[in-house]
Structures are given as structure tokens and as C-alpha cells.
Amino acid sequence: MSLVVRDLRVVFDTPKGPVWAVDGVDLEVAPGAVLGLVGESGSGKSVTLRAIARLLHANATVSGEVLWEDEDVLAMPPDRLRRLRGAEIGIVFQEPMAALNPVLTIGLQIDESLEAHTELDTKGRRARALELLDLVGIAAGGARLGQYPHEFSGGMRQRAMIAIALASSPKLLLADDPTTALDVTIQDQILRLLLRLKAELGMGLVLVTHDLGVVAQTCERVAVMYAGRVCEAGPVASVFASPRHAYTQALLRAMPGEGARAGAKLVPIPGQAPRLDRPAQGCAFQPRCTVSESACETRRPSMETDGDRRFACYAEARL
Amino acid sequence: MRVWLPLGAGLLILAALLVMAAVPDLLTPYDPLGFDYEALLAEPSPAHLFGTDQFGRDILSRTIAASRIDLQIAVFAMVGPLLIGSVIGLLVGWFGGWADALFGRLADIVVTFPFLVLVIAIVAVLGPGLINMYIAVACVGWVVYAKLMRGEVRVQRSADYVAAGQVLGFSTGRVLLRHVLPNAVRPVLVYAVTDMALAILLGSSLGYLGLGAQPPEAEWGVLIADGKNFFTTAPWISLAPGVAIVLAGLGFSLTGDGLQALLDVKR
């Protein structure tokens, strides 16, 4: 395993009291493996990624273990951390406009990354920058290098972010919703690119997304998050075919399916998103769950392992 | 908490000021206009906390009595620019086009002159006095309000709820007054509170120069001017009104800043 996350917890200290955004997350990513991270908006996916790279705001308290090639990331000294980010772990942020520097050209921002993490000379860096833009499907790179982020469309910004993250050929890429602003045809190009890099360089990938189709087509394993916890994890094919957590099942049912069921009613998930400032005593999904039993309300189900599947649901057998 | 401390302090000062202006007679230890030939130019003492002037009038009493006029100046010198500026800002922000371009040029010209200089110039033309001062301040001061309002309106104009109002067939007047204005007015009002501090400073500056309130009317700037001839021998004459100006200014500024932080208005 190149990345191992054990019992990761993040608490935000806010004026209105603590927010338990991530509450005991376990993840593993092997070299060359792709892990999909899905779950409700606000379930802690972005916070988890940021915690792994130690990029959280000052009001966050992080505990647990993040091991990168057996090294404890949470205890790394600052200069080691700097080499880790960028050189070994690349990050694609959810909001590309916030993550790109508005006053520097795209070319300079790619160059910065190349300068810090490669031995290339000026000419070599420029050539590599062009190559990277081409890789993410931004043609006419020469002119594009001189443009500022605001001159790029939303989708192009997202791809510029990906190019910057890939500049140092990282061993692990943490990609937070990298294709939301993209047309499906461009999305397809990007996903193929990531899969190719994975195959050729053995790059590991954690892919956060809302699109279960993207997970099905790119990931080997998937972890489903709800209210700051992983509620179910396992190989994509078996999780999608037979979910073993009530939330996973509800999520799959809420999506319009394949083929000709057109016109049929979708099955929404009733109720409200859970509150992270007042964690539930029992299962966080219980108030919205259609198959819950009395135990769900009082005791939090613990994570169970069955072969390569993990899940935390009392109703698992009845799904 | 960081917000409540300045806001509380500011509101406390303003409350005190308001009480002084409302019932000065209850607070003044002496008749503010009563001459006392026994105590001409008396130094501060337990009997006269801030001393007396050349006619033996109690400075503290005069300062308290003057607060009414200064508070009136703070309000009137703010209301005129606020109303004129808001209406103009609302209209040019909404309609844009040549009116907006014209406004931009005009605003650029007005802000290149120092505020006080422009006001003094206008008062000089109109003649001294409070009313003319209000007119002069309104002529110059509306620009800031209009710019603030215009900026807010332009932000709101592209908001989807405004488009929704148009799709719902609401008249432009209704969209402007019922939907845009309530959402755009907040920073303008917060600024108005801070602006009252400037208004007090301005009012007393003009009073001092003899261009604002006229002598029988006791106004802090006028009081300070009264003391200027005795500045070497009896400096306390100007002290109490000076302190009053500083405190009142502080009160409005603190309240304004506190409100800004509380309502999360970005400037």
C-alpha cells in the first residue's frame, strides 16, 4: 500500500461550536490503483483529501494516521511535507478558480511546479508544459501558456489544474471532482488520460466524484461516505451490483438507470442531510433510512468485513 | 467577542450623546448662558469641572447644551447625501448606459477635490449658516453614497432573483423598490453611520471657521473658536468641546465598524 489512512478525524472549531466533518475514515490506495470516493454533498470528501495532504485551515484539528509509504504524514516536518506535496502527491482542487493564481499566467504556474520538482532547464520546461496542456486536451498550447486563468473557460481551468498537478509526475493523484465543469466528451478524454498515466507510471489515484458512472468506468474500488464516515467500501462491480449499506442502495436507486425504464419514478432519498455539529447517537443515516430497525437509532453500527467488502449497516442482510 | 466590544462601546457613547441632546437641562450643572463675574476664566475645579470662559460661563454646561446642534448636524448632513445619492445610485446602477457613464465622469471629478475644500467653496458662495452648510454637504456628499449604491445594484441586477422578477412580469419599479433596494441598501446604511462621525467633524470645522452654526447657537466648533483667543492663558475653554467632538466621532465610527462586522458588509 502506498497510502494508508487509519481512523482519520477532522474537527472544525467554529463560532457555533465544533463540526465533526470527518469522523473515523479508513482508506487504502495501492500503487497504480484507483479509489473512487462518493457520497452526499458535505459528507467530508474534500476535507478528507485536504487532510491527507495536510492542507486544512487553522481551525481544523486532525487526528488519526496518514501513512505515505510507511511515513507518517501528520508528523512530517515542513520541508519534507513540501517535497511530498507536488512531487509525490499531486492535488486537483474542487474549485479551480480558487486554486489558480489569478495574476500569474497559466504557463508560469505550470513552470513553477516543473521548476520545483524536475531537473529540466528553461527550454525543457516549456516543452514539457506544452506537452502537458496537450495531454489534457488544450490545443494551441503556445498561446494558451501566456493566458491568465480568467481567460480560460471553466472546463479549461479545471484541465489546467490537472496539468499542473501532473507536472511533477506524482505517484499519487488526489482529484476532487476533476470533471464536473466538463462536457462528457472532454470528461471522457480526461478520464482516459488519468487511466493511462496510472497504467504507464503506476500512479495511484483517489477520485472524488458525484457521478456514479464515472466511478463505474474508472475505479477499481469505491468508498461511499456519509456524514464524515465511510459507510461502505469494496470493489466497484460488487458494491454497485449488491450494495450492503442502506445509503449506498438509496444512492444507486436515486439515479436514473440504464436503458428503457424511461418515465418511471425515480426513488429519492427522503429527509434532510445530517447535521455534523450534532452527531447522531446511532447510525447517521437512520432518520432517512427506509429499512432501519430499532438498534439503528441507539447504537452506531461498526464496520464489518466480508472478504473484500466492508460495510457498517445493521440492515445489510435485508437489502 | 470581537464584534460586540466596539459596537457596544460605540452604542454606549451614542446613547449618552442622545440623552445629552434630549434633556440637556437635566444634566447641565449651571445655566449654559448664565454669566458669573465671580469666576471669569476659572481653571477646572470641583465647582467647574472643565473651567469657565471669559464671561464666567460653565464650559461643561455649554458643551452639553451644544450637543443638540451637533447631533442635528450629524443627522442632517448625512440624510441629504444619503437620499440623493441612493436614488441616483439606484437608477444609474440599474439602467447603466449613458447616464451611468455621465455619473462616472461626474463622480471622478468630484472625488478629485478634497471634500472639505469643496464644501467650503460652496458655502462661501451661498453664505455662512447651517442650512447652506447642509446644502453644500449634500452637493458633494451624495457621490459616495451613489457610488456605493450603484456598485451594490449592479451586483444585484445580475442575480437570478431579479431575472425571476422580470419573468414573473413585475414592473421595473416593483423590481427596483421591492427586490433590488432592500438587498442593496445595507452597506449604504452602514456607511451612513460612519459618515455621521465625519459630519460632526465637518460641522464643527465649519463652525470653527465661522461658516456653519453662527455664534449665539452654541456648537462645539464655535465653542472651540471662542476659546482660541485665550489659548495660551485658558486652554481649558477648548478642551471640553474638543473631547466631545472626539468622543462623538468615536461613537459613530465604532458603531459603524461594529455594524459592518456584525452584518458582514464588505466594503
Binding site: 471522457d188 458512472g213 438507470g257 | 432573483y161
Partner: protein, 319 residues
């Protein structure tokens, strides 16, 4: 079926801002060609899905249809009349008949009006019911979108995204419209609530006989709920037809690319090759067919002559 709303060869350009350099160098005025001759017809009681990549002009079309912006050329026809020429009472009748639901449920409600006041305002301004009946009608509207009566007294910020979208729908319904233009009404919502809103649209259509223009980039949703589909590319409709036909037998190469790029929910399905190339800039649309630079079956004439929409498809190869 009768046509209620129709766009005839609608064109719309947005001039690009001109900098000082442009003026000094006397560069020609450049413009984004957001719509270049779009024709669609909306029939009573049907759902027309509009799909296409980001920036292809879907929102611009929606705004033209509700008269928020005026076309530069062409016309939007309502009951056989150009809506640009409608005056006073006719215009109000148009406003009442054609309503819009916006993408961002947070931005499309006035934050300083309670939900009840916002609905009552619509009813009062248009004299839809006598003043005495307004409170009762407000409650009926809330009930129609499955919100509790207590919602009337609260401000928009007190609601979740899905609930706000219901409020937006209720406000449109207050006008008793015949057509609802919904511009990405579920894109800003979590998957778990998307289904609720989609179901609500389908129910309302059934009950009230509404025509719905459903703009989205989610092809699965379109397939699920639209009767007919219009596929847009770079400001043009490139293909239109019955949903079933479009998905089973797409005729335009872009439609084909779009459909084959939708990631399937079933893991490991083999996918067709991706389309190559960058989306062209709407500032300088390519001559001829807008899709030809990326088209896998491009022919020489595609680069010079623009095909027009004949029998529901705009492609030289489909003849």
C-alpha cells in the same frame, strides 16, 4: 399536438469587451456567437430535453424564450405572435403562460422576502385570485410542491437546496403557466434530492398538462424524462427528435460522441473511442459545420458549407 412556444432561427451574439489595445489597433469588434440560428418548437404537455456541452448556448436560449434577452435576429413566437412585439396585456398573458425555473435555487429567491410573501406578491400583482383568497392559494401552492404550510413564514435561507428549488417551482406555478423553462434545475442539487425534483416535474406535468423545456447536461436524466430531445453544439441545434430515436439511433456524429461518452453505471463496459480535439471558441466558430474539426467522419465539404437542420439532423453525412 399544438405548438405553444416556438423559436424561429434565433440568433444572439454577445460583444466581447473591447480593451484600449483593441481600439488602438483597430481590431474588429469580436463577439461570442451564443446562438446561431436556433429553431425549436415546444408542444403542449410534452417535455423537451435540451442537451449540449457547457457554453453551447442553452441558457441563452432559455433566456430568449422567456424574453429576458432579445434575439439579434429571428423570433420567439407565442400563439403565433412575435413576443418582442407583445404589448401590455398581451405581454402579461405571455408572462403568465411561460415561466422559468432557475439553476441556482440559492440565487433565484429574494433573500429578504418570506416564502409566503414571495408567492403572495405574484398572486396579487397579476390578480390571479381575489385578495381574500391569497393565503389559501399560497398554502395550496406549497402543498403542490410538497412543502409544509409552515414554510410560508420562513425566509429562503432556512431551507435546503432541494426545498428552495421547490419554492422556485411553486412561484412559477403561481402564474398558472402552460410552459415551464427549467434551466438546469437539478444541477446544483445533490444526487439524493435530484430525484425528488425530477419526480415533482413529472407529476406536475401529468396533473397540470405543463409543457416543460428541461435544460441539462445530464443525458441520463434527459433519457429518463424527456419526450423529445434537442442536441446543441456551439450555438446550433445539430439534432432533434424523439428521445428513444436519439438514444437508440443517433444520427449526428456529435450526438453519437455524446451518448457514447456517458459513463455507464455498469462497470467495465467497453467504450467507443473518444472524440479528439478541443471545443472550438464561440468567438471564432469554425467555418462550415461547427463540429467538423472534431468529427470522426469529416468530409471535404464540411469545412466550407454549414449543413442545415433537415429531418431533424444537421449533417452532410446523414443525408
Amino acid at each position: 399536438m399544438s405548438i405553444v412556444l416556438q423559436a424561429n432561427a434565433v440568433e444572439r451574439r454577445f460583444p466581447a469587451p473591447r480593451g484600449l489595445a483593441d481600439l488602438l489597433l483597430r481590431r474588429p469588434i469580436r463577439a461570442v456567437h451564443a446562438l446561431s440560428g436556433v429553431s425549436i418548437a415546444i408542444e403542449a404537455g410534452e417535455t423537451l430535453g435540451v442537451v449540449g456541452e457547457s457554453g453551447c448556448g442553452k441558457s441563452t436560449l432559455a433566456r430568449c424564450l422567456v424574453r429576458l434577452i432579445a434575439p439579434d435576429a429571428g423570433a420567439v413566437m407565442f400563439e403565433g405572435q412575435d413576443i418582442a412585439t407583445l404589448r401590455s396585456s398581451d405581454r402579461l398573458r405571455f408572462n403568465r403562460a411561460v415561466q422559468m425555473v432557475f439553476q441556482d435555487p440559492f440565487a433565484s429567491l429574494n433573500p429578504r422576502m418570506t416564502v409566503g410573501a414571495a408567492l403572495a406578491e405574484v398572486l396579487r400583482v397579476h390578480n390571479i385570485v381575489p385578495d381574500a383568497d391569497i393565503p389559501a392559494r399560497v398554502l395550496a401552492l406549497l402543498d403542490q410542491v410538497q412543502l409544509p404550510a409552515s414554510a410560508a413564514g420562513r425566509y429562503p435561507h432556512a431551507f435546503s437546496g432541494g426545498q428552495r428549488q421547490r419554492i422556485g417551482i411553486a412561484r412559477a406555478l403561481a402564474m398558472e403557466p402552460r410552459v415551464i423553462i427549467a434551466d438546469e434545475p437539478v444541477s446544483a442539487l445533490d444526487v439524493s434530492v435530484q430525484a425528488q425534483i425530477v419526480n415533482l416535474f413529472m407529476e406536475l406535468q401529468e396533473r397540470l398538462g405543463l409543457a416543460i423545456v428541461f435544460i441539462t447536461h445530464d443525458l441520463r436524466l434527459v433519457r429518463h424524462m424527456a419526450h423529445r430531445v434537442a442536441v446543441m453544439y456551439l450555438g446550433r441545434v445539430v439534432e432533434t427528435g424523439l428521445t428513444h430515436d436519439i438514444f437508440e439511433a443517433p444520427r449526428h456524429p456529435y450526438t453519437r460522441a455524446l451518448i457514447s461518452a456517458v459513463p455507464s453505471l455498469i462497470p467495465g463496459q467497453a467504450r467507443a473511442d473518444a472524440v479528439r480535439g478541443e471545443l472550438p471558441s464561440p468567438m471564432a466558430p469554425p467555418p462550415g459545420c461547427p463540429f467538423h474539426p472534431r468529427c470522426p467522419i469529416v468530409m471535404p465539404r464540411c469545412a466550407s458549407d454549414a449543413p442545415s437542420l433537415i429531418n431533424g439532423v444537421s449533417c452532410w453525412a446523414a443525408g
